[in-house]
Amino acid sequence: MLITELKPRETIASLVDGKKVFIINCIGCKEVYFPEKEIRELENELSASGNVTGIITTDYICNPDNMKLRLEKHTGEIEAADAVLVFSCGVGVQTIASYLEEKAVYAGCDTCRLPGFQGVTPLEYKCDQCGECYLNLTGGICPITACSKSLVNGQCGGAKDGMCEVDGSMECGWERIYRRLEEIGRLDVLKCPTQVRNFATDDEVSAE
């Protein structure tokens, strides 16, 4: 079981304010709790500003075949948008980011772990349910699962010919992130403040 929480309003505003946005909203699979009411409120607010080019609301956005067809139906609306805002767990955001290679794809939610049964991730994209989604700082590629050391401030010096020192069959996650940010013209996000991970599961303990 996992749970998604809406990122703080200021965070979302900093990503989409003044931009044309296409919204993708996952209403889930049975393993995930989604804050549907809060998301709908936010969608309405954004729509009222006239900046939303289109909305897809569906389940299982991590299902590649299903999603591909749906995205194709909305090609025009997606092209008209500066950014795509995804409300889903980390797997969903990564699936969309991999389809829309030239778009800035942003996560609207953090994905947290709940004890008990975890959702079956059917794909190569992994979400560690770390509770503070980094996908907005990494071009939609998860540094927690794509980097052997789960580094959040850039690559170590350990990649050889683009491959990870720990697992030679795995591409260096941070080199992928760098290349993707370069493609979408967002290398500026690497200038973000130093990231310090928060391993506290208790909400009372705030991040540094």
């Binding site: 789960s150 010096g157 020192e165 260096c172 760098y178």
Partner: protein, 292 residues
């Protein structure tokens, strides 16, 4: 003494590396450091290098300091969480150790305890950030330190001959923004690549020491080419090592090559860092040949 003071004075700073042993008898190592390394500015002490368990870096730093050398305390994020890292930094300050080299560290899988839990609670950038906070008198949890805060020369590393040099520069910039004062590089065998890198890196305004490994043999060169990230020994250098086996065996060829690389890089950087890997005895000769 902080090595940053020397950079500020415009000195060409020379450091070399000492790797603590798997054991606690260090007399021989200290004798060797005193004999061959006392003429240089500072001595890096590695922190369980290559994820191989050894005597601690901090203890070795203290032992070298007691013998009049200037140690650089290497600290990685692989084996300690943020509490242990900060605690060791305060311990270093208590011993009067003022120079740090802050790294993420190799993964545990690379070493002699592959079953160990890799920590990486922090990484090189957030560790630099943490040291900066301690210097401001607050720990990473936001709690005030008692008494005068510590003050360090905060070193970091960068890999100038990496195949993704732009990503390396982006990471270097993050380290500078987090508070890095100086840089030591991964071993350079291709001065032209290093010079190109420095053209871009000089915008950050931080001193850079070029990293040097003395190539000991053809086998070592090939091993590095196949296994060590960001290091490439060009084929003509390997040919040079092949040419006169006796000369190479005696270490003369390797020292000549290393001296040549230092001379070529020197106009573009602020110092040199020598990773002698057991050939500490060759360091004085290397520096002489490189005219330092």
């Amino acid at each position: 003494m902080k090595i940053t003071e020397l950079f500020e004075r415009g000195e060409f700073v020379v450091s070399a590396e000492v790797g603590p042993p798997k054991g606690f008898h260090v007399e021989h190592l200290i004798e060797e450091a005193k004999t061959y390394l006392s003429g240089i500015t500072a001595v890096n002490v590695t922190d369980n290098q290559s994820s191989v368990m050894r005597l601690g870096s901090l203890a070795m730093c203290k032992a070298l300091k007691d013998e009049g050398l200037t140690p650089i305390f290497q600290l990685t994020c692989r084996d300690r969480n943020r509490i242990a890292l900060q605690s060791d930094l305060l311990s270093a300050a208590m011993f009067g150790i003022e120079n740090l080299l802050l790294l993420t560290g190799d993964h545990t899988k690379m070493g002699d305890h592959p079953q160990a839990k890799p920590v990486f609670d922090l990484d090189s950038v957030s560790l630099i950030h943490t040291v900066k906070k301690l210097e401001e008198g607050v720990d990473l949890g936001g709690n005030p330190l008692i008494g005068e805060p510590p003050s360090f020369a905060k070193g970091a590393v960068v890999s100038p001959c990496s195949d993704s040099v732009d990503a390396q520069l982006a990471k270097m910039e993050r380290k500078v923004r987090a508070g890095a004062d100086y840089f030591q590089t991964q071993a350079v065998f291709e001065p032209e690549k290093f010079i190109k890198f420095m053209e871009k890196a000089k915008q950050f305004g931080k001193p850079v020491q070029v990293g040097i490994i003395i190539p000991k043999s053809v086998g070592m060169a090939r091993f590095m080419n196949n296994n060590v990230a960001g290091v490439h020994v060009p084929e003509e250098m390997i040919e040079e090592l092949k040419k006169d086996k006796e000369k190479t065996k005696a270490g003369i060829t390797g020292v000549e090559i290393a001296a040549r690389i230092i001379k070529e890089c020197k106009p573009y950087c602020q110092g040199v860092h020598i990773m002698a890997l057991g050939w500490e005895s060759k360091v004085p000769e290397l520096l002489k040949l490189a005219e330092i």
